[in-house]
């Protein structure tokens, strides 16, 4: 089916960032984070250029803590970084402006929230080898302000027109339904609840592996499209019966409590105006034709 939205009215603005460097706390030399079992761990985490993890790969089982596939970028100060994080939309085109990979095009695939606040960009693996930390990347942002005709109760967040039109969808009884790989039950919503839904991510809980399996979430891949039940993400993420959010798995699982795979929420509605249906395999690597 075709979705119509206010395409002609959307404004496309440049937002810039630089390839981020991973960060760890200073002295005393306690670089560990704590797993949900209380075990200290030291593992690769968000930031930098990740050479061997891409959208389409598994979200679980990496020896990493919420790793970002591809390349992670930040604005040069907190307010510029907010601008970057809020206006970047999943599916927007990114262009490398400096360094050995200058001119290479990529695609925004996700965002991260509190404590990291980075935008996650897919670039072909070959191009990643040419990039350096600090290289400048400009995203041609487009999507903020989007309204879907006939479905005005649905708030779009960080959703590009390219992804909206590529998402599997259908309308039943006036409700726009999106095809998803799985649905996150409300009791498995973790870090991100109560935090801003303008940018950032909402993580699922993954400490209880049996509960994860029962919800059909243990085989998720990075880039999978998922629904989150009873969650209103219009202004922050929070519990509300009947609400629903739709998002994209943006980063991998991690050992910390509350920090299973992160979801970049792209659509939400409070009272059943947004729905979902099972569409196994729905992944933005295919929908956005990401180059390996």
């Amino acid at each position: 089916m075709s979705i119509t939205f206010n395409q002609a009215d959307l404004v496309s603005v440049s937002i810039g960032g630089v390839i981020a460097h991973p960060g760890f706390p200073g002295l005393p030399a306690e670089p560990y984070r704590l797993s949900a079992e209380g075990k200290p761990f030291l593992l690769p985490t968000f930031g930098g250029i990740v050479y061997n993890v891409s959208v389409g790969d598994r979200a679980f089982g990496w020896a990493a803590d919420c790793i970002h596939p591809g390349v992670s970028i930040r604005g040069t100060d907190d307010t510029k970084n907010r601008g970057l994080n809020v206006f970047a939309c999943v599916g927007n085109v990114a262009v490398v402006m400096t360094g050995q990979a200058q001119g290479t095009k990529g695609v925004v695939t996700g965002k991260s929230g509190r404590f990291s606040e980075q935008v996650i960009v897919h670039f072909p693996k070959e191009a990643r080898r040419k990039m350096a930390v600090g290289d400048q990347i400009v995203i041609r942002s487009l999507g903020t302000g989007m309204e879907i005709a006939g479905h005005e109760a649905i708030a779009c967040k960080g959703l590009s027109p390219d992804l909206l039109t590529a998402l599997p969808s259908k309308v039943e009884d006036g409700v726009l339904k999106i095809g998803v790989v799985a649905t996150v039950p409300a009791h498995l919503v973790g870090a991100g609840a109560g935090l801003t839904s303008e940018g950032g991510s909402l993580h699922m809980q993954s400490t209880d592996r049996q509960a994860l399996k029962e919800a059909g979430l243990d085989q998720l891949r990075l880039g999978d499209v998922v629904a989150i039940e009873n969650t209103d993400s219009r202004y922050n993420h929070g519990y509300l019966r009947g609400a629903m959010s739709i998002g994209v798995v943006g980063q991998s699982d991690g050992p910390r409590a509350g920090y299973g795979p992160g979801i970049t929420v792209v659509m939400t509605a409070p009272k059943g105006e947004l729905g979902c249906y099972q569409a196994p395999g729905t992944n933005i690597a295919d929908l956005l034709k990401l180059e390996a």
């Binding site: 973790g190 991100g192 929070g238 409590a257």
Partner: protein
């Protein structure tokens, strides 16, 4: 104040008591920054920082024209490292003492840990307190444990609170605690991103009908609270069968994903904790402070 521990054995003799301090804080606002209702409507509301003259432990948690109302006096330390020591070492029920200004020498009780430490004082102290007055806490309780329950972890629980909680042994051998109410795990929200050694986790009060249906909107500041399937050992995980006991430390919020603040006191990953509903399970009653004075 101290009562029998129902035959349980604590390690109080091993605990170290040491001083930490903070200063009475001042509310601060950013230009143009609104707090938003779930429908996006923006408002500016008081509640956090400073001295809250008319909301105290034992008062209602819901219904204030305020946001995240911090009962009593909110103190912080300007140096980040000292502030974290204040946060990590202070326990609920610890005694506080004003060490500067007109109220010098006045004694209070720690009732919460939000982004600031919350202290309740007797009525007459409030009019003498100035912004910036120094308040010292005799911190004791970090590491507290019961010999009979090695798998049950206590956090931020002072010896005074341990004795006040009316702990007992259930018939099946579990530790039993009276609580004012139980919360369903799916409404536990903001704070999931934080380590459980630091501050609280808000319950999500945005589903107002659910709050009324469950009676959650009757919660009082200082209430003891139980949550099933919540493992709060090292962060805040969903884990089937776990139980956590917590304390309501601040008032409701209009913000999506927020609500009254629930601070972890006792947690067990594998059951081991039972609770019974008793509306009087509130620290204002236990310490005869605030609304319970």
């Amino acid at each position: 104040m101290l009562s029998d521990l129902a035959g349980l054995t604590s390690n109080e003799d091993e605990l170290v008591e040491m001083a930490v301090c903070g200063y009475v804080s001042q509310p601060s606002l950013r230009p143009g920054a609104y707090t938003h209702y779930p429908d996006g409507r923006g408002v500016i509301l008081p509640g956090m920082f400073g001295i809250t003259y008319n909301a105290r432990a034992g008062d209602r948690a819901f219904g204030w024209a305020g946001d995240h109302v911090e009962p009593g006096v909110s103190i912080a330390h300007p140096d980040e490292k000292c502030d974290f020591a204040l946060h990590y070492l202070t326990c609920m029920g610890n005694e506080a003492m004003v060490t500067s200004g007109l109220a010098k020498g006045a004694r209070g009780v720690v009732t919460g840990e939000h982004a600031r430490i919350l202290v309740d004082f007797p009525d007459e102290v409030y009019e003498k307190l100035n912004i910036g007055d120094q308040i010292q806490i005799m911190a004791k309780g970090r590491g507290i444990a019961l010999a009979e329950f090695p798998k049950i972890e206590f956090k931020k629980t002072s010896p005074a609170l341990l004795h006040a909680l009316r702990l007992s042994r259930a018939g099946n051998g579990a530790l039993k605690v009276p609580v004012a109410m139980e919360l369903p795990i799916e409404i536990m929200g903001s704070g999931a991103e934080l380590n459980s050694e630091y501050v609280d986790q808000d319950l999500m009060s945005g589903d107002r009908q659910l709050m009324a249906d469950l009676g959650v909107d009757q919660m009082r500041l200082g209430d003891l609270i139980a949550i099933r399937h919540a493992d709060h050992h090292f962060g805040r995980s969903y884990r089937e069968g776990a139980v956590s006991i917590a304390l309501c430390i601040h008032g409701d919020s209009i913000m999506t994903g927020h609500g009254p603040g629930i601070l972890t006191l006792i947690t067990c990953a594998e059951g081991g904790i039972e609770f019974e509903i008793d509306k009087s399970a509130n620290i204002a009653n236990y310490f005869s402070i605030g609304a319970g004075a």
